[in-house]
């Protein structure tokens, strides 16, 4: 039994009262995006209703208030990641944006022809395509860590791949399609041993796992607020300050400059060097409330409860004839991907949707992974702290209905 009061937590998420096709919503698409608690919704409307102003430029009261709320969020995130310095927290619009920033600045400046970049079979497209674009431009070589049939990375192969040619490693912390938790400490240490820098795609990890970028010694860590009860269109890129300082700016414009003349512009310091233009102030302000919400519940408590849900769902789904769980890694977050014999994942998704159950179906933006697994896609149920075993029972009943209708 969890020490969390799940019924009370559910009341914090107004969307959970929605009726979908006449049924109570069962929201099992949390890996795509999580729902938002009232404190986050209120933070957004409070910001716009009471202290909306542009930041870092006005000297009036509202500008001061907005600026300090904005910078409070940075401090909150610094603590959330245990970063050494506040200016190592760069606000982006999401994981994708953070990865592109690193590929386009660090990558373009420091990588050259013949250098090798290592990613893994588990990557989301957003941690594949930016590196392919860089490889195309620079003549770098992309190498891919293989997985075994359970969905774990084959780390012996990774170690064999590493050499003085390896200049960058960019790997997902937690797989969105299979839930695999990767041993990123091992990956980082081995990359550093050959002098390579490492980016961790933390999109799926940030809401489930306690992250300590200093203990991990990660060079970069990227995640999206919308997957941890925060707003969409807001993300974080952590980078070690010496590396960020050595990187050229990404986008040009206001906020990121120190002095502009038509002859030459000098750039602002970290983190502003990477935050050109008026940022997404409201969503940055609101993310603090999402993180406070998580901290109040306690990440360990959340993880423990989600593990219970994962265990229960794995047991219950395994009993369904013809159902195969895809992804049985040693360490997993609360994601269950599955295929049903003789039924296309899309049909599973459509019939569950009719019953008010939201799952994700398809390739989950991981087409290379799906082709490695020899599947057109899967159906994926991903759980958050507001989900219940009763809802999992509805999923099981829903899948039985799918079988009855389609087979």
């Amino acid at each position: 039994m969890s020490i969390l009061d799940i019924n009370k937590i559910r009341k914090d998420f107004p969307i959970l009262d929605e009726k979908i096709n006449g049924r109570d919503l069962v929201y099992f698409d949390n890996a795509a995006t999580s729902q938002k608690p009232l404190v986050v919704l209120e933070a957004l409307s409070n910001y716009y209703g009471h202290y909306n102003a542009n930041i870092h430029r006005g000297i009036h009261f509202l500008a001061e208030k907005a600026t300090s709320a904005f910078e409070d969020s940075r401090t909150t995130i610094q603590k959330f990641l245990n970063a050494a310095h506040k200016e190592e927290i760069i606000f982006t619009y999401g994981t994708t944006d953070g990865i592109n920033l690193v590929a386009q600045t660090y990558g373009r400046k420091f990588l050259k022809e013949g250098d090798e970049i290592i990613i893994s079979t588990l990557e989301h497209h957003s941690n594949i395509v930016p590196w392919q674009m860089l490889c195309e431009e620079k003549g770098c070589v992309l190498r891919v860590i293989p997985i075994d049939d359970k969905g774990d990375l084959i780390l012996e192969e990774y170690v064999k791949m590493l050499s003085e040619k390896t200049k960058f490693v960019s790997v997902v912390h937690v797989s969105n399609a299979l839930g695999t938790i990767n041993d990123i400490k091992f990956i980082i240490d081995n990359a550093h041993a050959v002098g390579a820098k490492v980016l961790i795609d933390g999109a799926q990890a940030s809401s489930h796992i306690t992250i300590d970028v200093q203990a991990l010694d990660a060079d970069f860590y990227a995640f999206s607020a919308h997957k941890l009860f925060g707003p969409t269109g807001m993300g974080v890129l952590y980078g070690k300050s010496d590396i960020l300082n050595a990187m050229p700016p990404y986008r040009g414009g206001g906020e990121m400059i120190k002095e502009v003349t038509f002859e030459k512009t000098s750039y602002n310091e970290l983190p502003y060097k990477f935050e050109a233009g008026t940022p997404n102030i409201a969503d940055v302000v609101a993310v603090k409330f999402a993180i406070d919400y998580i901290n109040d519940l306690g990440k360990e408590n959340i993880a423990a409860y989600e593990d219970e849900l994962l265990k229960y769902a794995t047991e219950q789904l395994s009993e369904i004839g013809g159902l195969r769980i895809v992804g049985q890694a040693k360490e997993k977050v609360s994601v269950v991907s599955f295929v049903l014999d003789g039924v296309h994942p899309q049909d599973v998704g459509v019939i569950l949707d009719q019953q008010g159950i939201a799952v994700r179906t398809g390739h989950h933006c991981t087409q290379p992974l799906m082709s490695r697994l020899g599947l057109p896609g899967t159906s994926r149920a991903s759980f958050a702290v507001y989900n219940t075993t009763t809802e999992i029972d509805k999923l099981v009943a829903g899948i039985h209905k799918v079988k009855k209708m389609v087979l």
Partner: protein, 139 residues
């Protein structure tokens, strides 16, 4: 029958269903009954892009009329595809190019034409009309 007469017939059939289950069971049944498209037509060129499941559409012209054959990996899409084929096949290129497909909306399945779920179906309608236009040009 004209395109609209066939559409009206489908709409009438669907009025019999008062819950989603009956409706979807019927669509699944249509999907199961649709003859398999022969492998020679399951080419990359015949794949309709933008669907979660693969949809193939094959068209040919005979005696001034266009005929469609189609298939899909997913059974519900296949059922929907089967209705589109039923409505659109064996008409002149002009009729197909100018068809106003209102039945999908009327039978309460418009969400299947929505952007995310299966804009493959929206693409399929587009592709069918494109055949209509193309076959008008080369008589």
């Amino acid at each position: 029958m004209t395109i609209n007469e066939i559409q009206d017939e489908i709409i009438e059939e669907f009025e019999l269903f008062d819950d989603w289950e009956g409706k979807y069971e019927y669509i699944i049944d249509l999907g199961k009954k649709l003859p398999k498209l022969s492998d020679e037509f399951k080419t990359d060129d015949n794949i309709i892009k933008g669907c979660q499941s693969i949809v193939w559409l094959h068209a040919y012209k005979q005696d001034g009329r266009i005929h469609f054959e189609a298939d899909s990996e997913a059974i519900i899409v296949k059922g929907l595809v089967s209705m589109l084929v039923k409505v659109m096949t064996n008409h002149t290129p002009e009729e197909i190019a100018n068809a106003d497909l209102y039945f999908i909306d009327k039978i309460g399945l418009a969400s299947h034409l929505a952007q995310t779920r299966s804009n493959g179906l929206a693409s399929m309608v587009k592709q069918m009309k494109a055949y209509g236009i193309a076959y008008q040009a080369n008589v």
